[in-house]
Symmetry: D3
Subunit: 137 residues, 6 copies
């Protein structure tokens, strides 16, 4: 299996609901360093997994939609905790949609799975790793 990983970041405010979150129930924020890994079993005719320029552009666009915002006010997350895990999934879903729409080119449709990792500090991270095939996610 081949993979390509690109890195970006986003900076957000939010609060989390539930005793389990302790002081993170207060309005605070985070920088998430975001790694998006694209995987496929074979390379295309150019010898690549994906057009890394387009992939980087897509990742930056997805992160820009979330960054410099208070996620408590974002309709997309209404009624849900925007934990690092939930945000990893949100980035995954948006990247998967971009691939399905063809934003990363036709070749990108050969990508079989994607892993999104959000590093919230030097000592904690969360990820979502999923198939792009509807039947096996």
């Amino acid at each position: 299996m081949y993979s390509v990983t690109v890195r970006g970041h986003m900076m957000i405010a939010h609060s989390l609901i539930g005793d389990v979150f302790g002081p993170a129930q207060r309005l605070h924020g985070a920088t998430y360093i975001v790694d998006v890994e694209f995987r496929r079993p074979d390379l295309d005719a150019d010898g690549i997994v994906i057009d890394i320029g387009r992939a980087t552009g897509t990742v930056h666009s997805v992160l820009a939609e979330l960054s410099y915002r208070n996620l408590d006010d974002e309709p997309a997350f209404a009624g849900r905790n925007t934990t690092t895990e939930v945000l990893a999934r949100a980035v995954f879903d948006r990247v998967a949609s971009a691939i399905a729409r063809g934003d990363l080119g036709d070749g990108a449709r050969a990508v079989e799975s994607v892993r999104v990792t959000l590093h919230e500090s030097h000592i904690a991270a969360a990820s979502f790793d999923g198939s792009l095939r509807a039947t096996s996610r």
Copy 2:
């Protein structure tokens, strides 16, 4: 699949038996930067894989039991080489036991697998990745 990773470290002395270890047969030591990744297919009602506060506390407790010690004198490792690989497994076993005992809360029992990575320097690491289901480890 979702995952959450927390980082800690331990500092130990030990020696290794066997020609394959060269100068590491002498009493020496290591700092291990330890990453523990917890995985499960779905999030709980709070939107998390695991209570990260409890997970961090458990990892720190497990590492504190090993740290600032000469592992050559620890009964738990009598007759065995405390290689980075063996120590990765030891941390895994102790974290798995803590989950089974309920130390990380009832929700943590939904964790399906754990990966423990010990970075012994900037150029070498070892890991153990195992299921928490007895039948598939």
Copy 3:
């Protein structure tokens, strides 16, 4: 010159006032990975710059006072932008005060200067480096 550096982090929400900040004028947030470096020309009788346990405790206390908060609501920063630079200075001032109060022990008073670096992402950081001598800061 000798130095010892300890690392911690804080997670905050804030907004910044001024056109220069672009989208960061909106309420958002950041994780700051914080390095505090303590310097002195000679070591004490134990062979150290500072009691690293106490230094780490002080740094964590200072960061805990700022973390998991919306800095827009903190009286300490009323009327000021909480840029990374300003926060680096705020951490410096609080660490300097702790040293002056003796929180890090009498030996810590031999520390001549401190550098505080806040990493706000993998591609940006700010720092404040100052003397602990009133005349030369």
Copy 4:
């Protein structure tokens, strides 16, 4: 599953053919920080995955064959783009051959799979992850 990872690097010049590569169609170069992960389900009698000294030696030899060269002139890559993905596979194939030849010792033949990751910058990487069993690569 156990694993051991060793890190090395190589520095090469090359150019890439195809519009998708944009400015990288020009002759340029890269440092690749290379992580090679060796995996097997059980440890040997010494408590290790692989002789890390030999593994490091093999990885360095493989990288030395590629490093400080213009890959456009290397017969091994004639007619092919030396993308990061292709180079990850080339390192994999050479490490796999070295294991098969016994260069890493008889024990190394128990290694079931290898993952090679090339970090081309702080924001991009590619990898090839393959089985050493002919039937399942």
Copy 5:
């Protein structure tokens, strides 16, 4: 003293002349991870050292002029070895010129010194640290 550091990178081909360079006398290449630190003793009215957006833009422009090129063919370096040290100085000079021209805004003229560090691998780096005052560089 306050500072702000921004990171970028460039990927180049080159060869070096002189026995001291060993295999690096052959045409090869490098990725340089580039940190540019801007320093000044006081903050401006916005609470910043420099407009980080403009600083990042300038650093990226300077690196783009050098990246994806064979430096052996660049007139700017004719007759000179493009060692990591020389390239650190070249980036410094170009950033200093941009500040002097006002590309980073009038406020940036208060920057007193700049440090440019090029990381050529995980185990080697070079830097140039200089004043922006003609008399004291």
Copy 6:
């Protein structure tokens, strides 16, 4: 001012004497990731601060003399605590002696100062920064 930095590591056992060290009074160990920075105001005729091959060789030799040892048994440290600070100074002194002896070549005698940093974990480091001129260290 120009600088070149090379990285190596060492793995040692030791114990520390004094209540301030808490659990580190027990026999334990550490991996130190070691950065040695060489500085001089001008480059030599080849465009370098120092022959990086020789510098790396010297640093590795110095670290090999200390590594894979119990420092409690080393005569060089008899009666002294081998704190990270003391070890940073010990590495500095040995590198300075190597330069003075000419081990790094005649050109290396132009190096004016050296900084040695030992990273003992992801959250703690110590350094010694000194002049190579007897009068100003």
